[in-house]
């Protein structure tokens, strides 16, 4: 529903000065798989990078069977983020779970940090539920 939205994030240990959109991502998180064949999502994504897709389907069923073979297997994952969101939060808002998955697969941020950030952003019970969804995603990925 709505228009396709792209957001960019840069993580670094020193000051980030660059303001251009991320054109060569190290990691790509696809929250809405219906966009897969509507917009050129993978433009600039290096095959050494990470790819996370919010879906319960297999890559083959998404038409990405061949594409994902270019990536190291431990750099890619499908995440049932919307389903876990419904389970933990009651609404199909996949972002928290995707962040948990991101932590698991890239190891660039710790799960604890992700959950703490979630709690700071969303107060009380809402934060806890989202943090739990993130935790679920993290643990599922790490054990696979």
């Amino acid at each position: 529903m709505g228009a396709p939205v792209i957001a960019f994030c840069r993580l670094d240990d020193k000051e980030i000065r660059l303001r251009e959109p991320v054109m060569s991502p190290d990691a790509l998180i696809v929250q809405d798989p219906t966009l897969l064949h509507q917009v050129d999502l993978f433009s600039g994504l290096d095959t050494r990078g990470y790819l996370l897709i919010n879906t319960t389907r297999r890559y083959r069923d998404l038409g990405l069977g061949d594409y994902v073979t270019k990536f190291p297997p431990h750099h890619i994952c499908t995440v049932a983020a919307s389903e876990w969101a419904v389970e933990f939060i009651g609404k199909p808002l996949p972002n928290a779970a995707m962040l948990g998955a991101f932590s698991a697969i890239t190891r660039r941020v710790k799960l604890d940090s992700v959950q703490e950030a979630i709690r700071q952003k969303f107060p009380g019970e809402l934060g806890e539920k989202n943090a739990a969804a993130a935790g679920k995603a993290y643990n599922t990925i790490r054990t696979n």
């Binding site: 000065r17 303001r19 251009e20 959109p21």
Partner: protein
């Protein structure tokens, strides 16, 4: 205290720390988050007895600020693009009356065509309205410049606009060091007006001034800007003492001391330019940059000193003058008058088009080889331009340009080209 937050919310918190007494708010993308957050802060009682007025237009917003400031209150508002134009009459009125209002401009392109994304056409359109104009490179800058703006405005009785790039800064989440109230209060004393509507001591504000005195009144405004050139660096160094970081001032050079080529720019693009400079330096190119923070008053002497040894200067701008080229570049030329330094203009980022490192690298490279056209419109789609020019030549009734171009780019369906 270090916080990770949206730029506009950071600005709102900084404004709140400055304890404005009247905030007038009218929404326009991309500054709206600032006034929304301020309304929350006012409601929560975070800003004392501050009065938050929801006005019916930007013209009303600036007018309410004028009335409030004339009655002795610290007044604040924010706008962008079309809103700034709509309040233009009042913007000139505020500076003409010498009222120290502070306003945030969330820089956004001016239509037509309507466009909500960033460029500098809005604040550039009002560059000679008598307001001081400061440009923020980062959201930390934005916070710091607003605090300095109140101090500067009230010290000189001149209104100040703090310009920050819409979306790029306003909607970016980044780490900022939010000052605490004690620091701000140590830096910014309570507002002491030079003129005030006071029944106990009545004055007439806003009388007509004829040919016999108008020039003198206007010169005194010019004089304030000349004073500001001295005051701005002073306030910046005071700021550093209290807040512990370098912020504000007229300009900020970056590896430009010994540079053959120096880039001059305003706002967030300076960040990207720093990265480009570093990359090119690594490749052995003698290049540096100068960030202009105070565009009005324009730092003539400081900029000349920073540029006079350069072999060439490139001004990167986010606005332009139809038929002429850049706008900021003219002030740069004035600063370098008498010198024969070649000055290039790169016009980039119009209507929010991303300014990429790659494109700047390419353009700067061409400039260092003196192969760059001037003015250079960065990343312009010449195919589309040529197409449209041909279409207009062929048929008188060629239709609205915007629609034609969008169709050309495949962004709008319908009739085949």
């Amino acid at each position: 205290m270090l916080k990770q937050m949206e730029g506009s919310h950071a600005v709102a918190e900084a404004i709140a720390l400055c304890r404005p007494e009247v905030i007038c708010a009218y929404p326009i993308t991309p500054q709206t988050h600032i006034v929304e957050r301020l309304s929350e802060l006012v409601q929560q009682g975070e800003i004392g007895n501050c009065q938050y007025i929801n006005v019916e237009s930007e013209f009303a917003a600036m007018s309410v600020a004028i009335g409030a400031s004339a009655a002795g209150a610290r007044a604040y508002t924010a706008t962008s693009s079309q809103g700034l134009l709509f309040m233009t009459e009042a913007v000139y009125n505020a500076s003409g009356l010498g009222l120290p209002i502070v306003m945030t401009i969330g820089n956004r392109a001016i239509g037509a065509p309507i466009n909500i994304w960033n460029d500098h056409s809005d604040s550039m359109a009002l560059r000679d309205a008598g307001w001081i104009q400061l440009y923020a490179e980062t959201n930390q800058d934005a916070i710091d410049l607003h605090i300095q703006a109140f101090r500067l405005a009230e010290q000189l009785s001149v209104p100040v606009m703090v310009c920050e790039d819409g979306f790029i800064l306003t909607h970016a989440y980044e780490r900022v060091d939010m000052p605490d109230l004690n620091q701000v209060q140590a830096y910014l004393p309570p507002f002491e007006p030079v003129q005030i509507l006071d029944p106990a001591d009545p004055v007439t504000i806003g009388a007509m001034v004829g040919p016999e005195a108008f020039a003198e009144v206007r010169y005194l405004s010019h004089h304030k800007h000349l004073q500001a050139v001295e005051v701005i660096p002073q306030l910046a160094s005071e700021f550093a003492k209290i807040f512990g970081r370098d912020s504000g001032g007229l300009i900020q050079p970056y590896r430009s001391d010994d540079a053959e080529t120096v880039i001059v720019a305003l706002g967030s693009v300076v960040g990207t330019i720093r990265d480009v400079v570093d990359d090119m330096r690594e490749d052995g190119v003698s290049i540096g940059a100068v960030k202009v923070i105070s565009f009005r008053p324009f730092p003539m002497l400081a900029l000349r000193a920073a540029l006079e040894n350069a072999k060439r200067v490139i001004v990167v701008e986010k606005a332009f003058a139809d038929g002429l080229g850049g706008i900021a570049v003219n002030s740069v030329r004035m600063a370098l008058r008498g010198l024969t330094t070649p000055i290039y203009t790169i016009i980039a980022g119009l209507g929010g088009r991303p300014i990429t490192k790659d494109s700047l690298l390419r353009a700067f490279g061409e400039a260092t080889r003196d192969e760059l056209d001037d003015p250079h419109f960065l990343d312009l789609n010449w195919t589309v331009i040529d197409h449209e020019l041909a279409r207009a030549k062929e048929k008188r009734r060629s239709g609205p340009i915007a629609e034609n171009v969008l169709r050309d780019l495949g962004l709008v369906g319908g009739k085949p080209v």
